[in-house]
Structures are given as structure tokens and as C-alpha cells.
Amino acid sequence: MEMPKPKPEILANKAGLIARLQSVLSRDAVIEDPAETQAYECDALVAYKCAPLAVVLPSSTEEVAAVLTICNEMGIPVVPRGSGTSLAGGALPTADCVILGIARMNDVLETDYDNRIIRVQSGRTNLSVTGAVEEEDFFYAPDPSSQLACAIAGNIAMNSGGAHCLKYGVTTNNLLGVTMVMMDGTVIELGGAHLDAGGLDLLGLICGSEGQLGVVTEATLRILAKPEGARPVLMGFDSNEVAGACVSDIIKAGVLPVAIEFMDRPCIRATEAFAGAGYPDCEALLIVEVEGSDAEIDEQLGLILEIARRHSPVELRESRSAEESARIWLGRKSAFGAMGQINDYMCLDGTIPVSQLPFVLRRIAEMSGEYGLDVGNVFHAGDGNMHPLILYDANKPGDLEKCEALGAEILKLCVEVGGCLTGEHGVGIEKRDLMTTQFTHDDLDIQMAVKDVFDPKWLLNPAKVFPLDVSGPRRAA
């Protein structure tokens, strides 16, 4: 992965930078010792590593503004970092950058149940937002798999989704307002506790901009009353086509499940060996979850089961208790861990039109054979967000490169059938160089024009999202 060369003048003046940062932050909030900065050398995309020049851990919006003002004046690149759980390398440092970690800013600032909002500092973890309101039977809907660790700041940067977004939407649909610090230190507020923009929807533009337009320090989020209950049903099919048709029929029937999860045979087998959830050994497995009161759930599941039976399932398992529900979810929730047990893996995130599922799964299986690398598929079928997991051996020379080449082929396929490179993980550096397969020059140029407006010197989260040759002239300007 090509990264811009660190600027020698920045590296040479590290002491000057540290002195200025220390003048606005407490001693323990500025990390410069290479032994310690190394902890920030990568995020969850561990294949790429680069220790930053320094790390700062501010405690307030004012401190973030002070840091950015300094870095802007000195021309130092800044990489904002939430919890470092990006699978796309969204928080990968450059050697001449300052990592701006938001983890110390994790307070709840306001909880207002009547108006259904919570305002938090953006370093707060996703799950702990729900944790702050669940006593009153409320929750925050977006639920990325990393929700125990990932920060709201990162969720906003990547517009994160989760298993339940078929019903509740992704981050942008649940984000009402932000406090954001611009690269020049200016603090602005976008949105608030109200439901729409009074002018241009800049909030919508910020969400998903991968930390390249500003540093979000506070967020106002929509919280919702918890449903009375939820229950999954598990169904096994002897082909991906049939499972795909079943998904489509459920959606057409007017039921809107909160989640429709799909696992293919390689993934089912790995999961069974790892977690022993008692899944049937079949080609494709669906977990469909619905919400409501007991009677409402019965009504919806009745309809779903009736549809499923028309597709001759090899297994139908309806949960009757909390334990059975947990058991049905157990395998799905341990799928990533199970695959990791077998080998190193790369998790892709392409999204395709639901109608293309059977074709794409078949092509992935063929390509897996051609490359000689196993691929398991576990994903959100209701919205076409695939998560092919490519297994490789990091210790075997050339395996990572082969895995990346296969990954790129799969993502190109997703774009070819009318989909996109990434549904919820973000571009980061991982998909950066594939952007031209999905976008034309003009498509990318106008996105970069947005960056010009918010961060004219191109200092925020450098070398992400846009291919380096495409962004080169702007970065040099």
C-alpha cells in the first residue's frame, strides 16, 4: 500500500511540535516516546502499520481546537482516531502525523427521553450509549459488530451500520447533530436535537467523511424505546439461490424483520467447529429476527415460516425462549472469531443488489478455487451487505498479496453487478485504490472539492479514501 512520503522538515522539528502541544495539553495527554506511540501504529486492519510522530489525547472540545490550531499552523497532518477498530485502515497513521485520539472524551452530556435524544462526547463507545439509557428501556439502534469497543466518533466517520439496520437504518439516519472542530481550530455545530437541516445538510455530508472534514467531538443521537421483545428463527436451505429467493419473498410479503443474516456452508462449518451452536450442515442458513409483543412476534413469524416452508427448507427452528434465541445467535455472533481460529482473514464489505446474491456467491466460490484461498460468507442479507471472509496465512510469503488480489476481484464484481465497494466499513486505505472502479474522474473530483472547502491544506486523515495519484495535485497545492 503506497503512502505519501513523510515530510523531512516535520520529522526534523518533532521537538518544536511537542513543545507546542504540551503548552496546550496536560503532560500525560501528549505521547511522543516511540515505545508508546507504537501502540497506535495500526487499527483493526493489522496488515498495515506505521508509528505516528506523536499522539495526543485531549479531554475537551477546546483542547481539540487548540491541537488542530497548532497542527494547522505548522502544516502537520492529523489522523483522528476513535477506538481504532476500523477494518479499512481508517486510522492508519503516517510517520509525520499526530494521532488525535478521542478516547478520553466519553461523557454523557445530556439524556432527554421525552425528546428521544442523548448527547455524548464522541469518544464514548457505541454499546455504552445504549448502556446509558437502557434502564429507561431505550436504546441506540446502530450496532456494528465491534460495538463493545468502537467509538461514536468512528461510527460517524464511517457511517457505521450493523445487523439491525434493515429496520433502523445506519448512523446517518440516527445522528441529529454534532459539535465539530475544523482543521483551523474553528468549532462549529451542525444540526441539533431537531429533525432536519435549516439549510444545506452539512451534517449528512460529515457522516461518512472518514474524519477528513473535521473532528467530531460531541454528537446528538436519536434514542428509541426498546421493543417489548424480539425473537429469531433459523432456517437452513440446500442452495444459496433458494435462501436468496426466500429473503426476497419475506421482504415482498410486507414483513420488515429487524435482521436477516445469511451464512454459507464454509462459514457454518467453521462456526460449528468453534462454537457448537447446533447449526444444520447445509448450503445456506438464514437467521431472521422480528420484534414486538409476544403475540405480534407470533403473527410475523407465522408469516415468515409459511414463506420459508414454500422454499423446502432443510431445517426450520423457531425460538421459544431466551436461551433458544441466544443459541440461534451464538453461531452468527462467533462467526468472525471462528474464522479467525482457522487462519488470518480479511473481511470484505461490498454491497450488492439483493437479486444478485446467488450469482455473486457462485462467482466468489469459483474465484476462491482459482486463487486457492478459502472464502466464507456471513452477511446482512436483507440489505445485500456482503462480508466475504478470505482466509490466508500471514506468515506465508505472498499469501497476503494473493488475498488482497482476490479481495479486489470480489469488490470489482460487487461494483459490476450494480453494488459498491463498501457498505459499512468505509474506504480507508483498504479500498482507496479501487475507487476508480466505482467512480469516474468527475465523481471523485467533486468529492475532493468538498475536502478543499473543509480542509484546504488536506491535513486531516491524509492518504485515505482517494487514490494518491488522483488526489496528488490537490495535496501538493
Binding site: R116, A197, K252, G254, E296, T351, V427, A449
Partner: protein
């Protein structure tokens, strides 16, 4: 009028244009400051490009009539869940509303509180910017975070950043059953309480509106499968019984009519000037409404559980305001109220730290030309918007001045 029939022609026109253009779909939503410029209609860019009911996705050209889309979806038991308002009655205009106009204005109806706004249902757009470049953003899949999200930026940009040519939408199944609970006599704090209890319950209320007046009432809508709706009606009724007499409407046509009237703000159609205020419900009731009472006799309608407040001023009242504040005519009186409304909405004492905006939706050209129709933003935010406009529309030809 220049009626465009292909995206390529649209790009050519904008590439060559040196003078301002006034972008139109069906021309039924004259929102914003009046624009001087040659009319350019995208109504000829019409038709369904792709519809996959099993994937809940629809791709249409921007000039496609809304009615045609609704019919296409209804044939498959689906709909545009964000329930776009029809402005024709309110603004007293004819014409054929198009999906492009809906997107340009981010037009959403009562169901916004449950399912989201127009912008939340947009999967992708194609548009032509002010330099004539064809741009796509987003796509036609449910989840897409590839690159910056210009889709949401285009929604509600009123054709000032680009002219949308094609739109991908998420659609939803139309529920089998609908019921409306009406809490009779609920007004003021009681109305807010009824709506708040409803939307903070787990019962998925898809409409919550308060109609003040001599016979005030709160309407609460439930949708879904029959057994489920029946269950939730029962539950909600028992939670609200202390707030007024409750009746339940289950006839589909009457429900549709009731919510159409709320959606289209029919009760306030005769207004001389009409504003839409977006604030958190608590701030509307304890901050904004008392402030308005100090200034003028206005009629109001609250939707979105109080989060969207429609404020109507009659011509007589506008004249009284003009007299009381020593300004010339009704338009000046309305302009006086407009400035006070926007100041109030920006006041942290009134918005309770939650922000908000007041937008003039209906008013004579002279009035709309004299005021900042959209809520003015603080300087750094206004500078960002201006910077975006400069880059998306370097010649300054797309609906210039409409939003600022």
C-alpha cells in the same frame, strides 16, 4: 421554458449556460427566495429505470411524476414511506409534482418521526453540477459508504448545487392495517404529553399530530398487521386515558384522508404567510409557542410529535403587525414576524440548546425577496455552504439566491 429530455442535454445546457437558470420539476413547490433566471424544466426526464420489489429499491428519473411512482409501488403493495407532502393546495398552484422536487426540498410527511425523512430513503443520485459535469453518488443498494455522502447533501439543496437527473430510493411495504387514536380536547401541555407518551412507547407510532383550535385534538397513527395494530391500539389507549376522551378510527379511507390533511397542512391553507419551524418538541411547546403568543394571533399545527410546527399568519394579522410596529404594509408586518421567529429559534433560551430553524414556506414574492427565507447560519457554517456552492456551481447560475 427549456424542457430537457436527456441527462446529456442537461449537461450540455449547464456547461454552456452563462446566465442564471431557474430549475423546475413540476413547479409545484415555490419554496425559497424568488429566482430571476431562465426556466429550465427536468419534467421531460421521466420514467422508471429499475424497480425491484424484492430488494425494496426503485430507480427513477428526476422528472417522473410522483403519482406515477406511487401507482407503480402500490401495484406491488409498496410505497414511499416518508410520505411526501403535496404543496399545491397550500401554495395555490397547479402542476404535476415530481420526485425531483421532493428530493430537492427533502420533502417529508408525518411518518418522518418513525421511518425518517426523504433524505433517509435516498440510496443514490445522479446530478449535473453548475459546470455541466455529470456526477453520480451513492448507488442503488441499501448500504453504501463508498466515498463522501453527497446524496444527503443534494437532498434539500433546492437545486442550488446541481440538477438531479436520476434518483435511487428505498421503498417499503405498505402495512395491511392502519388505525388512528384521537385524543379529544388535548391541547397545550396535554397535547405534548399525549404525543410524547406515544412516541416514547414501544408501539411504533407512525404519526403524531396536534391540531389546536376550538376543538383541539391529538391524532396518533398505528400501522402494521391487523393483530398487532389492535394490540397496540389497546395498549396506547390505556396509557393515554387520563388526557382526554379517546376515539379510534379504523376505516382506511378516513385514515388516509385525515393524514393527508395533516401532511398537506390543509387547515392553514388560507394563510397569508406560513412558516415551518423544526425544533425539539419540548422547546416548541415551552419556548416557541409562548413567544409567538406575545407577538401575534397565529394559527398553528404541530406534526412530528411537536418537532415540526406550522405557523400561519392571516393578512389581517399581518396588517395589524405592520401598524403595531410602524412598518408599511402586510408584507412588512410578516417580515417583522419572520425575523422574530428566526431569532427566537436561534435563541438557546428558547430552543433549549437543541437548535432548530424557521423557514418561510408561503408568502408573496415581495415578502420572500425581502427576508432570509431559510434560517441564517452562523458565519463559519455559512462560509462552508458558500464554499460548496462556489465549487458545485462555479458560474453561480443554479437557482442563485434561492437559499441565501
Amino acid at each position: 421554458m427549456d424542457v430537457i429530455e436527456t441527462e446529456a442535454t442537461l449537461a450540455e445546457r449547464l456547461r454552456d449556460a452563462q446566465e442564471p437558470v431557474r430549475v423546475l420539476g413540476g413547479g409545484t413547490r415555490g419554496i425559497g427566495r424568488p429566482v430571476q433566471g431562465k426556466a429550465l424544466s427536468v419534467a421531460g426526464l421521466s420514467g422508471v429505470v429499475d424497480y425491484e420489489p424484492g430488494a425494496l429499491t426503485l430507480v427513477v428519473k428526476a422528472g417522473t411524476p410522483l403519482q406515477q411512482i406511487e401507482q407503480t409501488l402500490a401495484a406491488e403493495g409498496q410505497r414511499l414511506a416518508f410520505e411526501p407532502m403535496d404543496h399545491r393546495g397550500l401554495l395555490g398552484v397547479d402542476g404535476t409534482p415530481t420526485i425531483g422536487g421532493v428530493v430537492a426540498g427533502n420533502i417529508s410527511g408525518p411518518r418522518r418521526i418513525a421511518v425518517g425523512a426523504c433524505r433517509d430513503f435516498l440510496l443514490g443520485v445522479r446530478f449535473v453540477d453548475g459546470a455541466g459535469r455529470i456526477v453520480k453518488n451513492g448507488g442503488r443498494v441499501m448500504k453504501n459508504v463508498t466515498g463522501y455522502d453527497l446524496v444527503r447533501l443534494m437532498a434539500g439543496s433546492h437545486g442550488t448545487l446541481g440538477v438531479v437527473s436520476e434518483i435511487s430510493l428505498k421503498v417499503l411495504p405498505t402495512p395491511e392495517t392502519v388505525a388512528t387514536l384521537t385524543v379529544h380536547g388535548a391541547d397545550g401541555e396535554h397535547a405534548l404529553a399525549a404525543m410524547t407518551r406515544a412516541i416514547t412507547s414501544p408501539f411504533e407510532v407512525t404519526g403524531a399530530a396536534h391540531v389546536p383550535g376550538p376543538e383541539p385534538a391529538v391524532h396518533l397513527r398505528l400501522e402494521g398487521f391487523p393483530g398487532s395494530v389492535e394490540y397496540r391500539v389497546r395498549q396506547l389507549k390505556s396509557r393515554l386515558s387520563d388526557l382526554g376522551e379517546i376515539t379510534v378510527e379504523t376505516v382506511p379511507e378516513r385514515n388516509a384522508e385525515l393524514w393527508r390533511r395533516i401532511r398537506d397542512v390543509e387547515a392553514l391553507q388560507s394563510a397569508y404567510a406560513l412558516w415551518r419551524v423544526s425544533m425539539k418538541p419540548g422547546a416548541v411547546y415551552s419556548g416557541l409557542l409562548p413567544a409567538i403568543e406575545q407577538w401575534a394571533q397565529c394559527r398553528t399545527l404541530m406534526d412530528w410529535a411537536g418537532g415540526q410546527c406550522w405557523i400561519a399568519l392571516s393578512e389581517d394579522e399581518a396588517v395589524s403587525l405592520a401598524e403595531a410596529h410602524g412598518v408599511e404594509d402586510a408584507a412588512d408586518g410578516a417580515a417583522w414576524l419572520h425575523r422574530n421567529l428566526q431569532e427566537a429559534v436561534a435563541d438557546r433560551q428558547i430552543n433549549q440548546g437543541g437548535g432548530g430553524h424557521a423557514t418561510l414556506i408561503k408568502g408573496a414574492d415581495a415578502l420572500r425577496a425581502a427576508v432570509s427565507v431559510f434560517q441564517p447560519a452562523p458565519a463559519p457554517v455559512a462560509a462552508l455552504s458558500a464554499g460548496l456552492r462556489q465549487r458545485f456551481d462555479p458560474k453561480g447560475i443554479l437557482n442563485p439566491g434561492l437559499m441565501n
